[in-house]
């Protein structure tokens, strides 16, 4: 209760004033925290100096001098530690994004499958979930890397599909596209197709809401996105030349290689996280009252449509918050990459760079801040999506 503005203020010792006291304690707490931080920083500086250990971030500009197995941007040994950091970060993001996509697809499928009325499908989904969510992710990574992918034949006995795609212990070799003159025309055609598809999608939705008539959006979109660039390609010439990998010397040269470390890590993380997502999806669907299904049935909607248009949109409100946690876990678990030599941020920057420079404090704090930033970014994105999907109260 706020005292009436006109009523005389209760006067007394400042020390007995709860408001004043609260302020004092908060200020003292802040001072203590700042002082502790300052003490730690100062003492660290002093000790580093007295032990002759370099400090500061100057090393980021020095030349790294070692090779890296996989980099998404150009890299040579003369590039700086700063660039190595970026490569590690991109490799971490790559495996996280791939993992999140696969885990979500697989998780939704399994969550729905577990609720299936088909006995076999539902039991298989249960079996999958119970097995994979109860085995630690590191062991699963080892399983895929050492037990499965280590038994693929060597480069000279590669398995191949039509002499264009090759699989061996060094990785999966795919033909890589090189753009030609026709590329820009095809790109424009592709963008136009996407724009038209979006327009059709909006119109179809409006029509459905106005008249209840449905339009086959998926088929037209696929036809447009693939068909239009193909037609343009016929006119302007092939947009790509495909570079086929070829066995030269020790290894396949040319083309595009997916390294087994990336495959093992992505598989293990997606399969592990999918088991959790499946349970979240199941919980979400079960939270939608059965009356909704019955209402949809009585309207004569088919099972698939009921699921897609009635159940899932309502279930998403329950699903999204815990799903965010699973995405965060996946991104953080990607640091287990170090165990199988995938050059992620931890293995490359907090491992090799730390060791070559000896600057433990700097590299570890940078690495920790990066994971913090990645996790906060995922949270923000998912919160925004959650807000969009949340029940709009009218």
């Amino acid at each position: 209760m706020q005292p009436n503005a006109n009523s005389p203020r209760v006067t007394g010792s400042l020390l007995t004033d709860p408001k004043f006291r609260a302020w004092i304690f908060q200020i003292l707490a802040v001072i203590a925290v700042v002082a502790l931080g300052w003490y730690l920083f100062n003492n660290t500086q002093h000790n580093l100096q007295s032990r002759g250990i370099s400090s500061g971030f100057g090393f980021m500009e020095q030349s790294a001098g070692f090779g890296i197995l996989q980099s998404l941007i150009d890299y040579t040994e003369t590039d700086s530690y700063g660039r190595v950091f970026v490569i590690g970060l991109l490799n971490t993001l790559l495996v996280s994004v791939l993992g999140i996509i696969f885990a979500t697809l697989l998780g939704f499928l399994l969550g729905v499958a577990r609720l299936s009325h088909n006995w076999l499908i539902s039991k298989l989904a249960t079996l999958y979930i119970e097995i994979f969510r109860n085995i630690p992710p590191l062991l699963q990574i080892f399983f895929w890397y050492f037990a499965v992918l280590r038994n693929v034949p060597g480069p000279r006995q590669s398995l191949d599909v039509g002499e264009t795609v090759f699989l061996n212990i060094r990785g999966l070799y795919l033909p890589s596209p090189t753009p030609t003159e026709g590329f820009w025309a095809a790109l424009v055609a592709f963008l136009v197709a996407v724009a038209i598809s979006i327009f059709i999608g909006i119109k179809a939705k409006q029509r459905r809401e106005a008249t209840g008539q449905r339009f086959p959006v998926l088929i037209t979109t696929l036809a447009l996105v693939f068909g239009l660039p193909a037609v343009v390609g016929l006119i302007f010439g092939n947009p790509f030349i495909w570079e086929i990998p070829e066995l030269k010397g020790f290894n396949f040269q040319g083309g595009f290689v997916v390294i087994p470390e990336l495959v093992a890590l992505t598989m293990a993380l997606s399969i592990y996280t999918a088991a959790f997502i499946a349970e979240i999806v199941r919980a979400g669907i079960m939270s939608v009252s059965h009356g909704q299904t019955e209402a949809a049935d009585s309207l004569g909607l088919r099972k698939g449509i009921t699921l897609r248009l009635v159940i899932i949109p309502q279930a998403l409100r329950v699903i999204i918050p815990p799903l965010t946690s699973q995405y965060l876990n996946l991104a953080k678990n990607s640091s287990l990459a170090a165990a199988i030599g995938y050059p992620d941020l931890v293995s490359l920057f907090a491992g090799t760079v730390l060791n070559q420079t000896g600057q433990a404090i700097e590299t570890i704090s940078i690495t920790m801040s990066v994971y913090l930033a990645i996790s906060l970014a995922i949270s923000l994105l998912m919160n925004w999506y959650n807000k969009r999907m949340a029940l709009v109260e009218r």
Binding site: N47, G67, S347
Partner: protein
Amino acid sequence: MKFAKTTLAALAAAVTLGVSVQAQAGATLDAITAKGFVQCGISDGLPGFSYADSKGQYVGMDVDVCRAVAAALFGDATKVKYTPLTAKERFTALQSGEVDMLSRNTTWTSSRDAAMGLNFAGVNYYDGQGFLVNKKLGVTSAKELDGAAVCIQAGTTTELNLADYFRANNMKYTPITYDKSDESAKALEAGRCDVLTSDQSQLYAQRIKLAKPDDYVVLPEVISKEPLGPAVRQGDADWFNIVKWTLFAMVNAEEMGVTMSNVEDLAKSSTNPDVRRLLGAEGEFGKDLKLPKDWAVQIVKQVGNYGESFDRNVGAGSELKIARGLNDLWNKGGLQYAPPVR
């Protein structure tokens, strides 16, 4: 889990460097004397240098350095506790004070001396980087390795030398990097890589651990200088001196013909002034080093001289059968040379 261990070590470094009282001269030595044993960082399993034998005892050339330091300091070579470290963990472990000394086939370089705050006490093994390949590949020279996939240990000088060598010879390679040398060896066997590169001594040691050692051959090229030796952290000159002179004592003992079997007799009866000074019969050299008078006697009696340690662990008396080569004494055509005790 390696990553957790590395991170923990790094965090420990951050915390201890932050919280510990400011380093003083003699602090390390005082702490070791007080606790009564030497905490020694060794390799995580490298035959000949540091590995656990069939009885579970750590043995090897690097282990011998730790034992010799304990023998000099406490008169008892068993007063050592070992911390097996990967290449990636080793420096943070030493910097943070988790170990007192590092005796882990570590290459002496300028940046490790200057930027990492280490002091190398000397060189107990002169090595160079080489390549181990499967005979099936039909490769006879490292110059034929263009395009090869190469297995290496993360965070080593070999990682850097490899890049330099391939760049200098205008060749391409794919680096496959693991934390542990065992993982690299397994990857070579499985065919994940064509070549394993490391210091030559390590290659010989790794080879005898493979399922079919005879299928693999070490290529003739040596592409770098790898002076391997024990290191301590900076800030305690007394402790640095003890480790340094332990190493020198072992080399001097070999040069003077002092061995495990004759050291006690020589300590009493030798008339050679060099031997008398080393073994404490003349002068107060042990006291200057803050060691007992019979420090060198204890080293040789319990661990042996440098040549004995070499033969027993990596040389003629071992499975590895590595020739003395660069590691022979200076007066026999090698590089092992120790300053005199006087």
